[in-house]
Symmetry: C2
Subunit: 414 residues, 2 copies
C-alpha cells in the first residue's frame, strides 16, 4: 500500500476524525465524514442549479435586453461544461475515500457505497460546505499547478530555504531531521520538504483537504494528467468568459516521485490532539496555519512542546483568524504584537522576523479583484532547557538529531 | 432649509423610499426606514456584545495563556471606548433623519422618537444590517477624510478630469451643465463636481448611506470636527492594537462651502425609478455603481435614455455584482466583454477606455490584507439622434446646454 495518508489515531485515539470503534463519538465522526462526502457529491447539482436560476432570470428580461446579451446563454453552456468536468475530478476524489486511512475500519465504505447508489443519508448540502468544495478545487492551483508556481515561491520557498540553511546536508543527515507541517492542505509544502531528503509529516484537519490530498498524492502518477476549472464559480469581476472558464492542469510534477529513502506522510486530525508527544520534532513549519486556531496561544504552546530543545519553528502567513465572527464559535484575535509576546513568553527566541511579506492565497490571476496578504515571516528557536541561554547553533542542533529513532508510520513504497 | 437631501418622489411617486401618503406601499417603506434607524441604534449593544463574548472566552482559557496575553483585556477596553465614540457619531447621524427629506410627511418622526424612548418597533437587528452600519462608518474615510485622499484621487479624480475636459469653462457655462451621479454614497464625488461649478445631483438608494450623507453634508460645518474609528470592527489581520483603534477625523473640508451659485442636491430612491425623464442630463458619472444592478443592462439603458443626445457617460469601477449569490435575489453577471457589447448596442460610442485601473474601496491602510480592484474606466457618448454618426464635439455639446432651464429643486443657502 503506497498511500501517504493515515489517520491521526495512530498517535492518539482522541485525534481521530474517523474511528473504527462504535462509541457515540465515532458515530459523530462518521456522520462528519459522510457529510463531507455528500458535499462533494452534491457539487454538480448545486452548481448547475445556480445556472438554471440565472438562465430563468435572464429569460424574464425584456426582449431587447436579451438581444443585446447575445452570447450570454452560450456562455452559460460553457460554464456548465466546466462544472461537468470539475465533477469528473470530484468523482475521482471521493471514489476511494473510504479506504484512504491506513488505520480506520473499512466498514465505513458500506455507508458511502450506499450513498453512491442514492441510498441512505442524503442530507441537503450547506452553502458553507459547497464553498469549501469550491475552495478545494482552487487548492489544486496553489499546490499542484504550474500557475501556482509564483504563489508557492512566495509562500513555501522562504520556509524551505530556512530548513535548508539550518539543516544542511553537509552537517546532518536530512533523513534524521523530522519536520512537521501542520495545516498541510494539499501537501505540497510537506512534499517539497520530503523531496529534499527530510523526514516530513503533514497534518490536516479538514476532510475536504484530506480527500483532495489523498487523490493528488496517491492517485496522480503523471504530470498534468488532470484538468480543473478553478475559477468557474467566480461570476463577478470577470473581464471575459475565458477568465472564468480557464482550465488549469495538475499536477505540475509527479507526486509519487520522491528520493528512494524519502519519508513523507500525512495525518488527519486536530493538530492539538494528534501531537502530544513532547520534544519530538526538529522543525515545525506553519504556512497560513496559526490563524486557524480559536485560541492561537494553544497552537504556540503545542508547537513549543513538541519541538526538541533547540528545534525551529518557521512560520509564514497573516492573522485571518478563522473563527472570528463565525456563528456559534469562540475566538480570540490577538494582534501580531500580542502574538509575538506570547511566542517570547513561552521561551522561543526569535532569530529572524520579517513583516509585510507580500503573499497571495489561491488568487485568480485574471480577476478584477486582487487580494494580497502582508504576511508575517519568522524563524524562532526553542531554547535548550539546560542552558535556557542562547539557542544551540545549527550545527549542534543537527548533530543532536542524528541517531534519533524514526517513529513515523512508514509507507511501503517510499 | 439648507438640506441637500431630498426624496426621489419629487420626480416620481414610485421612487419614494419614504412617502407621505398612507397606502400599503408606504407602510412598507416606513418599516424599511424604521429598520435602518433601528440598525444604527442597535450598533452599540451589538458591537459591545461581541467584546463581552470574546472576554468570556478569554476568561475560560488556561491561566498561563491568560498570563501571556497580558494586555488583551486592556486592549478590549480600548476597543470598547472606540465603539462608544463611534456610537456618539451614530447618534448624531440618526438624530434628525425623520426631517431629512424635504418632501416627506414629518409624522414619521413620531415613530422614530418613540423608538428613541425605548418604545415601539425594536426589531432584532440583522447581522447584515450591522455590517452595513460598519461599512457606513468606513465611508467617512473614503469620502470625507484626509486619509481617503489617495482613494479619491484614483477613483474620483479621473472622472472629474474628464468632466473638466469635456465641459471647460471657456466654452460653456458650467452652471448649465447638468451632471448626475447615481450611487453617490456619502456624496463626495457629486460635491466635488458641484464645487467646480457644475449643476450636480447625487442619487442614492441605501438609507444607510443617505442618513450618513445627510449628516456630513448638512450638519458638518467645520473641518475635522468629528472623529470616527472605522477599523475597530476588524479583529483580524492587525499588526498592533493601534491599527484597529486608529481614529480618523472628518470632514477634511467643510461640505457647506460651495461657490455662491453652485447647484448641488441629493435624491433618495432607486435610480431606475427616479430617473425616467429622457434627454435630461449632459453627463452621467458612475463610480463603483453599475455592478449594484440585478440587471446591468437596465442601468445602461436608463443612462442612455436620460442623457441628452451627445451627452457623456463616465464610468469607473469593477464588476462586483452585488446580487450575485445573495440569497433570494436575482442576478445576471455579464463579463466586461459582454457589458461592452451592450454599451455599444444601445448606441453609445466609446471615446476612452482603460482597463486594470488600480483602485481600492475603503481599504484599511494598516491591515495585513490589502484588496485592490483592477477597475474599468471609460467615457462614452450618446450619439445625436439626427446624425447617428460621430459624436458631437465637446463644444457643440456644451453650447447646446446653454439656456437650459434648471429643473433641480434648489437648496436655499447655496
Amino acid at each position: 500500500m503506497d498511500d501517504v495518508c493515515r489517520n491521526g489515531s495512530a498517535n492518539n485515539d482522541d485525534a481521530n476524525i474517523i474511528s473504527s470503534s462504535n462509541t457515540p463519538y465515532d458515530e459523530k465522526e462518521r456522520a462528519h465524514f459522510n457529510r463531507i462526502v455528500s458535499a462533494f457529491r452534491a457539487y454538480r447539482a448545486f452548481s448547475l442549479l445556480r445556472i438554471v436560476n440565472t438562465e430563468k432570470y435572464f429569460l424574464s428580461l425584456p426582449v431587447n435586453h436579451r438581444a443585446l446579451l447575445k452570447s450570454f446563454r452560450d456562455n452559460l453552456d460553457v460554464i456548465r461544461t466546466c462544472i461537468e468536468k470539475n465533477n469528473n475530478i470530484i468523482k475521482l476524489i471521493v471514489k476511494d475515500v473510504a479506504y484512504m486511512f491506513e488505520n480506520v475500519n473499512h466498514t465505513l465504505t458500506c455507508s458511502t457505497n450506499q450513498e453512491e447508489k442514492g441510498g441512505v443519508h442524503q442530507s441537503v448540502p450547506s452553502m458553507n460546505d459547497q464553498d469549501k468544495v469550491q475552495v478545494t478545487l482552487k487548492q489544486f492551483v496553489r499546490d499542484w499547478s504550474e500557475e501556482g508556481a509564483g504563489e508557492r515561491r512566495t509562500c513555501y520557498q522562504p520556509i524551505i530555504d530556512e530548513i535548508l540553511a539550518h539543516f544542511p546536508a553537509h552537517t546532518c543527515a536530512p533523513h534524521d531531521v523530522k519536520v512537521l507541517v501542520p495545516g498541510a492542505g494539499l501537501g505540497r509544502l510537506a512534499f517539497e520538504i520530503a523531496r529534499r531528503g527530510y523526514t516530513c509529516q503533514g497534518n490536516e484537519f479538514s476532510l475536504f483537504m484530506l480527500f483532495a490530498s489523498n487523490f493528488v498524492l496517491n492517485k496522480c502518477r503523471d504530470i498534468n494528467m488532470y484538468t480543473v476549472y478553478p475559477w468557474v464559480h467566480q461570476y463577478v469581476n470577470n473581464m471575459r468568459l475565458g477568465d472564468q472558464t480557464k482550465p488549469v492542469k495538475f499536477p505540475d510534477i509527479n507526486p509519487s516521485v520522491l528520493p528512494p529513502n524519502a519519508q513523507f506522510s500525512m495525518t488527519a486530525g486536530d493538530f492539538l490532539e494528534v501531537y502530544v508527544v513532547e520534544n519530538e520534532w526538529d522543525c515545525v513549519s506553519t504556512c497560513f496555519f496559526i490563524d486557524c486556531a480559536s485560541n492561537v496561544v494553544a497552537f504556540i504552546e503545542a508547537i513549543y512542546k513538541i519541538l526538541k530543545p533547540g528545534g525551529l519553528w518557521i512560520n509564514l502567513g497573516p492573522l485571518l483568524y478563522h473563527f472570528s465572527d463565525a456563528p456559534n464559535e469562540k475566538s480570540i484575535e490577538p494582534t501580531y504584537e500580542e502574538v509575538r509576546e506570547v511566542i517570547n513568553g513561552f521561551g522561543f527566541k526569535m532569530e529572524k522576523e520579517e513583516t509585510h511579506v507580500k503573499t497571495t492565497y489561491a488568487q485568480n490571476p485574471n480577476s478584477m479583484l486582487k487580494c494580497e496578504y502582508e504576511s508575517i515571516f519568522f524563524v524562532c528557536r526553542k531554547l535548550s532547557e539546560e542552558s535556557n541561554g542562547p539557542a544551540a547553533s545549527t550545527g549542534d542542533t543537527a548533530s543532536a538529531l542524528q541517531g534519533e529513532d524514526d517513529v513515523l508510520m512508514q509507507n511501503g513504497s517510499r
